[in-house]
Symmetry: C2
Subunit: 147 residues, 2 copies
């Protein structure tokens, strides 16, 4: 098993803004992909679509201001059954996001790519929370020939 791990922090006095950006369709669409649909409650599924496919997430856990957990129930084969965890904590003037995409069966090249892309989307989330405007797909930062 291999995991993707990241840490970013937003300059915000409470985790509320980050939590909103992770648990509302409008919030998610403003930093990950503009084509986000579905429902965001516990047990609901959220559809994230991109130019060449997308991901469907089942909402596994929701603890306001602290934790959001998703299970990937549809998408690329390598993603299905993996989990995406968002652990939030307040550290003075910063809301710290500990991000985990856990349970990759093999460290395939696509995982290397996703690791880098997650970093750029986390920075888009940071930008959104701090400035009101992120860089979601299809206008996100391109990192390679794989976009």
């Amino acid at each position: 098993m291999s995991d993707i791990l990241h840490r970013v922090a937003t300059r915000t006095s409470t985790p509320d803004g980050v939590y909103q950006a992770l648990t509302t369709i409008d919030g998610l669409a403003a930093w990950w992909t503009t084509d986000t649909t579905g429902k965001t409650g516990l047990g609901d599924v959220i559809d994230f679509r991109f130019e060449n496919g997308g991901f469907t997430m089942l909402v596994l856990d929701l603890v306001p201001g602290e934790l959001v957990r998703w299970e990937v129930v549809d998408g690329p084969e390598e993603w299905i059954g993996t989990t995406v965890n968002w652990n939030l904590k307040q550290n003075g003037d910063y809301t710290v996001i500990l991000f985990e995409h856990l349970g990759w069966k093999e460290p395939v090249e696509f995982m290397y790519h996703c690791s880098t892309k997650w970093a750029t989307f986390l920075l888009s989330l940071k930008e959104l929370v701090e400035t009101g405007s992120g860089s979601p797909a299809p206008h996100e930062l391109r990192v390679s020939d794989w976009r």
Copy 2:
């Protein structure tokens, strides 16, 4: 053991520019940290210094246009003994960089941070190779309260 993995690609017709940026002091100083000193040959050590410390790398492997490997011989305790691998390959109009920072004993919070920072420095390397100008420390992108 935990690993940090990333994939970026530069729009370049040969891997030569990326290889140069990984194997010369001027190249390294232009995307990672301006305070880079030492020698870059096989068996040499390179010192990378930042505002709050730094890393010393022993050059383990050099295969022109294909591979650069370093062992961390000094720096934060969690880094010592880990290895940093740069695998290059040409894919049409792109030079693909498969980056690995292998051998973290534990997935500590500092590793989450380093994973995100590596992504931003890889994008700085991409920017350097494609445009002639990167974003090395101390002027690099800040991702959190940990810089």
